[in-house]
């Protein structure tokens, strides 16, 4: 019982954490949150199932193509839904534009792909049971992303450029950093991470268009609790969320579990709007 809760909880927590990181990477590049993060997760699973199960490609090719699809969607988000509204004074338009884009993709997937969950292929031909690949794949993906981002930010020039843009856009621009291409690349990177989350979690969540609103919400909770732009906080919060959700599932059943998760989320958020690890906002007057 406990091992089931722990393995499922950690695995699904890693998926939520990865979506949280997707939100964060987009936020770092543009100071906006995008509703498309959850949709990217959904597409990772759907594209994986489409390429490998339905079109019969080898798993590695399907994997690569699914990630590429995520990158493309990330770039599309930046061009269509974020860049045009960053210019305007009314910054809140980004909520609407990214929401619209996310809905467009979700509805299109529902109608063209399927309204029912479709099977996701088994990636490694290992027998089931015990610590199954559907559990350790998301964990592996999460660990890989964290390590990868660490290396990127600390040891590569482009990574440090990303950090610069996140810290202070004006200063970065004054230093001559190409803000626009860096932002676009950040969004592509976020797209890859989101698609990876959905792909790694495909066996658990199946290829289902309705994963998008699910991941949009549950993937945001780590961001809200861990602090905006704080990837480490997102991972910790994501894992805790996964464990809490599975425990609640076991103790009180599915329906009340989501009520429980949401109530705790709201209470924590109202108590500390900047997140458990975030810094309070200053407002320019």
């Amino acid at each position: 019982m406990v091992e089931s809760i722990v393995s499922t909880g950690l695995a699904i927590g890693c998926i939520y954490a990865l979506i949280g990181i997707t939100y964060n990477v987009m936020f770092s590049a543009s100071r906006v949150f995008s509703f498309t993060a959850g949709t990217l997760g959904m597409l990772g699973g759907v594209l994986g199932s489409l390429f490998i199960a339905r079109m019969g490609m080898p798993a590695a090719v399907g994997f690569f193509l699914a990630l590429a699809g995520g990158a493309v969607l990330g770039i599309v988000t930046e061009i269509v839904a974020v860049r045009p509204v960053l210019r305007s004074l009314d910054q809140h338009l980004y909520v609407l534009s990214t929401l619209a884009l996310a809905l467009i993709i979700q509805q299109f997937t529902a109608i063209e792909w399927s309204t029912e969950p479709q099977p996701f292929p088994r990636l490694f031909a290992i027998a089931r049971g015990g610590f199954d690949q559907q559990f350790w794949l998301p964990m592996l993906a999460c660990a890989a992303v964290i390590v990868g981002l660490e290396l990127l930010y600390r040891h590569t020039l482009i990574g440090r450029a990303f950090l610069a843009i996140a810290e202070d856009t004006y200063a970065a621009r004054a230093l001559g950093l190409p803000e626009r291409s860096l932002r676009m690349t950040s969004y592509a990177l976020a797209g890859v991470i989101g698609a990876l989350a959905g792909f790694a979690g495909g066996e658990m969540l199946l290829a289902f268009f309705a994963n998008a609103p699910l991941l949009t919400f549950y993937g945001f909770v780590p961001v809200a609790l861990g602090g905006m732009g704080n990837n480490r906080g997102a991972v910790v919060a994501g894992l805790l969320l996964g464990l809490f959700q599975q425990t609640a599932n076991f103790l009180v059943g599915g329906i009340f579990a989501s009520v429980a998760v949401f109530t705790v989320f709201i209470i924590v958020l109202l108590a500390r709007p900047e997140g458990l690890a975030g810094a309070a906002l200053q407002r320019r007057v």
């Binding site: 029912e116 969540l205 994963n211 599915g254 329906i255």
Partner: protein, 396 residues
């Protein structure tokens, strides 16, 4: 692939013109409009998609054979998208706007609950295949008929199998959170207790929940000897079957027909997991103990093959039900015409309509047309050419 309104209109229009050109002195015969409210898209569309294949085939055959008294059937389809709001809009359009003679559908209980009162107010005869018990009421809704079994009948058959044939006394009953699922659990638990069984687990779980292991572990620790799932959601059902297999837990799964659908099969982790899964089904479309199908069913399967209708991802009985329904309506109209009261009067006296899926009979005080004794349990993994073998130990 459903026939859109435009296509239906076009074919009806062509027929009308052809009639007019051939005999200019006689007025062209108007098509008979039959309203149709399937859920072809949306979360609960698997039933609708299956039924739709049968419906389209039947309408084509009837029209090719000359229609009803020379008049073609025009099927006016409004996809409800599994949404009761759109079902109500669609029903309003069919009755007020298109002025159909009869409505078939909706096929999902949640939508029917909203549409049945509306159709009653507009005096439109309705035939639907939904299972929730309260969806027929000869006093309140005198024009509404059900050509499918009720929840009571289905549950009764399944409960009988678990308690009397498999002799399991401790039962776990689980469903998703749709109207159909909740109604089923609420109805079946008292029925099981009345039979002397002990319901050790009873739950409604969100179908989107990726992990049902906590639920099955709870069932196991409560001592369940059989699992009875009630849902039309293939993802949900497959997760139950898969989790049972992963746990290596040897208990029978007895329940909803969708346990045996091609969609469910596609989502199984291992084909062996499909053993000891016993869904409801209907005797006319199953293999008799000798391994043969009834003549009517064999002929129907041949017709499906020649029309190239796919069965692999759905259930045969859905297609058969869809096939029988327009024929039932057409019989009524051939006999008494298209006036609502006449149709209702005919249906109230209908005895033994020979459907592929079952023989339908109605009475003025009984609008549930499916006979008790044709509901059987089958073995899921005996699926061959769309039909199943009867479950072991199952007789009568």
């Amino acid at each position: 692939m459903s026939m859109t309104r435009r296509q239906a209109l076009a074919s009806a229009g062509a027929a009308a013109i052809a009639g007019g050109l051939a005999k200019p002195a006689i007025a062209a015969k108007d098509p008979i409009s039959v309203g149709y409210l399937p859920a072809l898209t949306g979360p609960s569309s698997s039933t609708g998609v299956g039924i739709n294949r049968g419906i389209q085939l039947a309408v084509q055959e009837i029209n090719a054979a000359g229609g009803i008294g020379g008049r073609q059937i025009e099927l006016i389809t409004r996809d409800t998208q599994s949404d009761p709001t759109k079902a109500v809009n669609g029903a309003a359009e069919l009755t007020h706007g298109q002025k159909v003679s009869v409505v078939f559908g909706p096929v999902n209980s949640g939508e029917s609950l909203a549409v049945v009162p509306l159709l009653a107010r507009t005096n439109t005869p309705q035939v639907h295949p939904c299972w929730v018990d309260s969806l027929t009421d000869p006093q309140k809704y005198p024009m509404c008929f059900r050509n499918a079994p009720t929840n009571q009948q289905i549950g009764g058959a399944a409960n009988r199998y678990v308690v009397e044939v498999l002799k399991r006394k401790k039962v776990a009953v689980i469903s998703d959170t749709t109207g159909y699922g909740t109604a089923s659990v609420n109805a079946y638990v008292p029925m099981l207790r009345a039979k002397g069984a002990e319901v050790v687990y009873q739950g409604n779980v969100d179908a989107a929940n990726p992990d049902l292991k906590p639920e099955l572990l709870r069932m196991q620790s409560a001592g369940a000897e059989a699992i009875m799932p009630w849902s039309v959601n293939a993802g949900f059902l497959s997760r139950i079957i898969n989790t049972r297999g992963d746990m290596g837990w040897d208990v029978p799964i007895v329940g909803q027909t969708t346990l045996g659908s091609g969609q469910t099969k596609a989502l199984l982790e291992k084909p062996e997991y499909w053993a000891k899964v016993y869904p409801n089904n209907f005797r006319p479309v199953c293999y008799a103990p000798g391994g043969k199908l009834s003549d009517r069913t064999s002929a129907f399967l041949d017709r499906l093959k020649s029309a190239k209708i796919d069965m692999g991802d759905t259930l045969l009985w859905w297609i058969a039900l869809g096939y029988d329904s327009p024929r039932l309506i057409a019989e009524a109209m051939k006999a008494v015409g298209t006036e609502p009261e006449q149709i209702v009067g005919y249906l109230n006296k209908l005895k033994g309509f020979p459907g592929v899926y079952g023989d339908i009979s109605f009475a003025p005080d009984r609008h549930d047309g499916y006979p008790d004794n044709e509901i059987v349990m089958v073995e899921a993994n005996s699926l061959k050419d769309g039909a199943f073998n009867l479950a072991p130990g199952y007789s009568a």
